[in-house]
Symmetry: C2
Subunit: 471 residues, 2 copies
């Protein structure tokens, strides 16, 4: 740890201990420089770290302030799921939810869609238009089974941000991250075999295991540091686990970034027990801090890690373009890809390759990342204002998803129905568990605040929570 | 059978018996009308039947002629594959083929791509352009898991051509027919279970079984009437078969249309043994005859048939839009679809919905159908001219694929390598069998003749076949 990290840690502690209150002004750069005998630029760097952690916010010309709302509320508790392999349930619930026709009078605030209205996406529409207009027959042909070579080259360039050095031939383009994940699971596991997953974890991951006939061992997750390596080790000792499936960067639903050292330890565990790692990095590029965290894949020398990702969260999900970097499993993955979809739609791939090559990816990222971070700030404020203090709230380090843990006795499904009649809906917690845990939790998408919709929704949530009939 | 059918059958027999030779003029309409005491229009209808069967061709102002080339060559033999469940092989070969970078100096004539350069596809480019240009955010959003409602409505309208009456909610849009097929297989079968398939059969189907860990019983196929119902019945008696997977209309690779009565019998067999039917109808709308043949699905009252199809052969494969009408298996199919790809790319679905709604589908079909039929005519002529008379040639009733069976001792793989050095390549037969049969067979795509490329390729094939070293 260097000087500015030390200083940031110290200030962070003071904020957390309540020495500086939310909204309060923090000591000036000059004061701290004198107090700690460090340079002005060291203090500035320390403040930038606090900013990245969401603890401090700069206000032009007036210095740094404690982020309002932040850290006032407790974190969600680390759950202790039953650590034995179970079949994944909850499909009925999820299907019902997905098939219900959207009601015009209900705002769904629980989805996984990013801000697709950002002006920085305009060049993407232009690329799509350009390609269609030039009547390029390539867009009507079967694409190469591995995916458009131009796009794989661009993906490889983007992967450098997470310290991954890959060759375009090590990438397979997929129809979204969904296909990357199911391809990885089906490559590694036969029905009846076991995969270790984070709990809570993305419902698509849970259902992928279910659909492949694979059992899940749910491993508890710390809301700040990610999957419990101790619990994971225990599970690896106890069960013939085939793969570890994690979303270690900007996790869905908890938003944590697993510290680099813990990522490294996870990889070492995988080596020791000789199991594969499926790393879902779909939100990784949306980390609020700079540079973005390294992926586990970047530490992998043996081709043990299958990196799964897509443009669904960074750009737009409707394109259905993702990828997998399957390491030593390339040939089996190609087989699964071939039978799964044959190839991925060509035109979206062409448009993405042009969009990235023309340098439009990073400006868009910068824009939405700071938008999401700003939104989080405000949403945290509303949550702390309207929700009972017993509610636990996650502290996302990236992305646009927030996890709310309510009092044990609350049934989020019923709560959501009540909210529906007020015009709002969230995602309910139990689809984030193989065994249907987290019935008292909700997930919220803060990519867009939609005028005062978001505040009203959180207010409505607060009102409902005062209603005892929910328990 | 009515009058004109009787007359057509009689004339057909005479052509087949060699009473009228290829290229020869057939009796005039007036002559036949007098000879058989039927009306002029009955004779004209009979000639239209012969035309649909590819036996007769009209020449403006000079009447009907025997199709040149046609029927001179023997049919491929009905193969007798070992009728026990086997694991599907041939993936290595197929993968090698798919990954090899296309050589600029070699024309690949074995693929499955239709004519995507037809001017009747222009409105599709326009639709794609229009949608991109209006910056419709819908195209960037996650589509409904079941697929775009507008498109499902259009699909249901098109299905009426094959006598299918379905509701849009009975359709699930997929990423190509590949996803429809793998979804169907995974819905119906667990690893180790057994599916009955046509032999020869589309390699994608074979690999789908392999990838799902499912075993294949290869059932022999008659090159004119399709799957042997006798052999199928025997297999159903002998093995715990879960599903019958067939391509009964414009079959790939043989091009037959299974007669309606045999389709009905197949369905009755499925009922008797209580197994599901997966019907791949991807080429069905390309049948040369009018109206197009009914699908097995259209005869199904119980939701036993899962109809799989796509726009890959009728319009363009690069769109990657297909569908499945899964009957009683809808919920499980949605599950498999969800984990497979989440949703299908939105913009291609929107463009297709607009293209079909604006009435562009049938004009395109009419155009390519008659082009393919015309090409077949010419290709048959070249084959009969350049190939040894021992070669068996299929008689496609639709689509754009032709199956060539060479002398038993020919190794098509080596033959293809030799051809490669002359600048041409076909698809080799053994990928069309689970057990690697048909080593002496080739498949040819005649969607485009490409100037004199096709004739030169067939000429080169003929030359190679005179070279004894291939055996
Ligand atoms: C963690 C995670 N992985 C994968 C996916 C699926 O991504 P895609 O839309 O690219 O299939 C999501 C989408 O919600 C997700 O949150
Ligand atoms: C019989 C058959 N079924 C399915 C497919 C795959 O179709 P799609 O490209 O729509 O996935 C093909 C393509 O060659 C085919 O010939």
């Amino acid at each position: 740890m260097n000087l500015y990290h030390n200083l940031a840690a110290l200030l962070g502690q003071r904020i957390e201990q309540g020495l500086y209150l939310p909204g309060q002004r923090l000591p000036s750069v000059r004061t701290l420089s004198m107090e700690h005998g460090v340079s002005l630029s060291t203090v500035q760097q320390a403040y930038r770290v606090l900013e990245d952690q969401g603890l401090a916010v700069p206000r032009p010309k007036s210095g740094y302030f404690v982020a309002s709302g932040w850290r006032q509320m407790p974190l969600p508790r680390t759950c202790r799921p039953a650590q034995r392999p179970v079949e994944v349930g909850q499909w009925d619930l999820l299907l019902k939810q997905m098939r219900s026709t959207p009601r015009a009078d209900v705002q769904y605030l629980g989805g996984g869609t990013p801000d697709i209205g950002a002006p920085t996406l305009k060049p993407l529409f232009s690329a799509l238009t350009r390609i269609s207009r030039r009547h390029d027959p390539a867009m009507l042909r079967y694409d190469n089974i591995q995916g458009l070579s131009d796009l794989r080259q661009q993906v490889v360039r983007l992967l450098v941000d997470s310290d991954c050095q890959l060759h375009p031939d090590e990438i397979v383009i997929t129809t979204g991250c969904h296909e990357a994940l199911s391809t990885a699971v089906r490559t590694l596991c036969k029905p009846g075999e076991i995969v270790a997953v984070e709990s809570p974890g993305f419902h698509g991951i849970m259902q992928t295991l279910n659909g492949a006939g694979v059992q899940a061992v749910e491993i508890p997750v710390d809301p700040i540091t990610g999957i419990s390596l101790e619990a994971l080790e225990l599970a690896l000792e106890q069960w013939p686990i085939k793969a570890i499936l994690v979303t270690p960067t900007c996790n869905n639903p908890l938003g944590f970034n697993m510290p680099e050292e813990r990522k490294r330890k996870l990889l070492r565990l995988a080596q020791r027990f000789d199991v594969a790692v499926i790393e879902d990095d779909i939100y990784g590029d949306l980390a609020y801090g700079y540079p973005r965290p390294r992926s586990i894949k970047s530490m992998d020398q043996e081709g043990r890690v299958l990196l799964c990702s897509s443009f669904s969260k960074t750009l737009a999900p409707g394109l259905r373009v993702g990828w997998i970097a399957p390491g030593r499993y390339l040939e089996q993955v190609l087989h699964m890809k071939y039978i799964g979809t044959g190839a991925t739609s060509t035109q979206p791939q062409m448009a993405l390759a042009e969009f990235i090559a023309a340098g439009h990816y990073h400006p868009h990222l910068r824009r939405v990342r700071s938008q999401y971070k700003r939104n989080l700030e405000r949403v945290s404020g509303w949550l702390s204002h309207y929700l009972p203090t017993s509610a636990g709230i996650s502290q996302p380090q990236g992305g646009f998803l927030l996890w709310i843990e309510l009092a044990e006795e609350i049934d989020a499904l019923r709560l959501n129905e009540h909210l529906g009649s007020r015009g709002y809906e969230f995602a309910v917690g139990n689809i984030f568990s193989a065994a249907g845990k987290y019935r008292n939790c909700l997930r919220l998408n803060y990519a867009l605040l939609q005028g005062n919709t978001m505040e009203s929704a959180i207010k409505a949530l607060g009102h409902e929570l005062k209603d005892a009939s929910l328990a």
